[in-house]
């Protein structure tokens, strides 16, 4: 099972790079949904022994991260009518190179970290690189939706970290899943903000000005 889990982790990294390199929001969302699905599958792949804990964790993660949140995001881009990221503060090429640097740093640092009980030696570096690329996306992109995606990646990285400790601190991961609620709030915020920008206000009282 180790090789399958490693494959899943490699795909997680690749999906990070897809988010980093694409300007189409729908592609970003697809990538992040794939990442969620992989994250949901990881507990099964890492701990072949089925327990209520792993099953609930895996299915819960997959449903939230690969189902609900992407759907929510798609709804948000439909509502806000944005398709593409505007040209980001630093170019795609530069962010790609930054991502590659982050990758090198993550793999360089991971072996030096004082962590024990790690199922596969890929888990920690992949978690690190996901956090770092999430931060890059979060700080360099202009559109709020991409920033949400960046936040999701950041959180996925933390989730991966949590997996390394899931045997000892069983509820860490569940708490991490709870963070998704924040994402929901974020997305609501974007849509509301968008309405705000269109109408200069979200106050419903001002809606009365719309009558003729």
């Amino acid at each position: 099972m180790t090789s399958l889990s490693e494959l899943a982790l490699l795909l997680v990294v690749l999906s990070n790079f897809v988010v980093l390199g694409t300007s189409r929001l729908s592609a970003c969302i697809r990538a992040i949904a794939l990442q969620g699905l992989l994250l949901g599958a990881l507990p099964f792949l890492l701990h072949p022994v089925m327990s209520v804990h792993t099953v609930s964790l895996g299915i819960g993660t997959a449903v939230v991260k690969a189902g609900i949140l992407p759907w929510f995001l798609r709804w948000a881009i439909r509502e806000a009518a944005v398709r593409r990221e505007v040209e980001p503060r630093i170019g795609y090429m530069a962010s790609m190179i930054l991502g590659a640097v982050a990758l090198a740093i993550a793999f360089g640092v991971a072996s030096a970290l004082p962590l024990e009980l790690v199922e596969t030696d890929l888990l920690v570096p992949v978690a690190l690189v996901t956090v770092m690329i999430g931060l890059i996306v979060l700080t360099t992109r202009a559109k709020a939706i991409t920033q949400v995606v960046g936040y999701l990646m950041l959180e996925n990285g933390i989730y991966l970290f949590g997996l390394t400790q899931s045997q000892r601190v069983p509820f860490l991961v569940e708490i991490a899943v709870l963070l998704d609620v924040f994402v929901g709030v974020f997305i609501m915020g974007i849509v509301v903000f968008h309405i705000n920008r269109e109408f200069d206000s979200i106050s419903s009282e001002r809606l009365t000005e719309l009558r003729d």
């Binding site: 090789s3 490693e6 494959l7 490699l10 990294v13 690749l14 790079f17 390199g21 795609y92 090429m93 790609m96 190179i97 991502g99 590659a100 990758l103 090198a104 793999f107 991971a110 072996s111 030696d121 570096p125």
Partner: protein
């Protein structure tokens, strides 16, 4: 200095003779995907034959550079082929660091072709030359990342070891696949195929490689077309050798594998060309960077 095995010589001859088939396979695949019957597989042979019997037109601005370039292009590509372990065992010319020589021979061919394009003084060909060197500048480091990854796996910087003789680490399957995918994507750029360049385009402003050779005619054009097909065939051989577990069966079987790989990669290129559109030019460096990042990721995995 030991004499190279007979199969290495025959493999070189086979790839030199069979290279035009790869163009036929690509166009046939595209035709089938589009629901047409398409041209026969040996269409390029017919084209080459036709061109060889045509007369030539030379621009009055051109110098000897323009006449030399097609010959140099073919010669560098064939000599580069002799550095590859085409039969799966070893190459005709083999030495430490011959991977560098392979890349730089292809670069020499590109250099003279670009100079020939600038020799015409045409702004269209200048534009094509500029794009060609731009994209090549990004493809080259990507290919060398892949070379570094292969060399690390083989503990040797020679193509014969990387693609044939040396055994790979047991857990390197994933990395091999990643490197092969990366080389495939880079080869599409190097050989001017979709999504970087569209060989079938008919608008000068959008062309990259084709526009560079607008002024070549007759036997000169035949040599350039042939060299391009040969280059694609060589990359096909490389890609399949990266994927296959090493060391693999060499010799006569290796030659069969070579032919199979040319067909397989031809089909893959045809499929890519059918399902993908060409990228906008400013997007191409990003595409190449993404392909290189894939190989870099493979290298990082090896080094951890």
């Amino acid at each position: 200095m030991t004499l190279p095995p007979l199969t290495a010589v025959i493999a070189l001859l086979v790839v030199v003779i069979a290279a035009p088939i790869v163009a036929g396979v690509v166009s046939r695949t595209k035709a089938i995907m589009a629901g047409r019957r398409g041209a026969p597989l040996w269409q390029l042979y017919a084209d080459l034959w036709k061109l060889m019997r045509r007369g030539l037109v030379y621009s009055t601005t051109t110098t000897w550079m323009f006449r030399l370039a097609p010959v140099m292009l073919v010669a560098t590509t064939i000599v580069a082929a002799s550095l590859l372990p085409l039969d799966g065992r070893g190459s005709l010319l083999r030495f430490a660091g011959d991977a560098v020589a392979f890349a730089y021979l292809l670069a020499l061919g590109r250099f003279v072709l670009v100079l020939a394009a600038l020799d015409t003084g045409s702004s269209f060909e200048g534009m094509g030359a500029s794009r060609e060197v731009t994209f090549a500048s990004f493809v080259e480091p990507g290919l060398f990342i892949a070379v570094a990854a292969l060399a690390v796996m083989a503990h040797d910087l020679s193509l014969s070891a990387m693609l044939g003789a040396a055994p790979r680490p047991t857990d390197a399957t994933t990395v091999s696949v990643m490197v092969a995918a990366s080389v495939f994507m880079l080869a599409l750029a190097e050989c001017s195929r979709v999504p970087v360049d569209d060989p079938a385009t008919h608008l000068e402003l959008t062309m990259v490689h084709e526009v560079m050779v607008l002024d070549h005619s007759g036997p000169d054009l035949a040599m350039i077309l042939y060299a391009n097909a040969l280059k694609l065939a060589l990359f096909a051989g490389i890609i399949v050798n990266v994927v296959l577990p090493q060391p693999r069966a060499g010799g006569w079987l290796g030659i069969a594998v070579l032919l199979g790989s040319v067909v397989a990669v031809g089909i893959a290129v045809g499929i890519v060309e059918s399902v993908m559109a060409r990228l906008r030019l400013p997007k191409v460096p990003l595409y190449i960077a993404a392909s290189s990042a894939l190989a870099l990721f493979g290298l990082v995995l090896l080094l951890r």
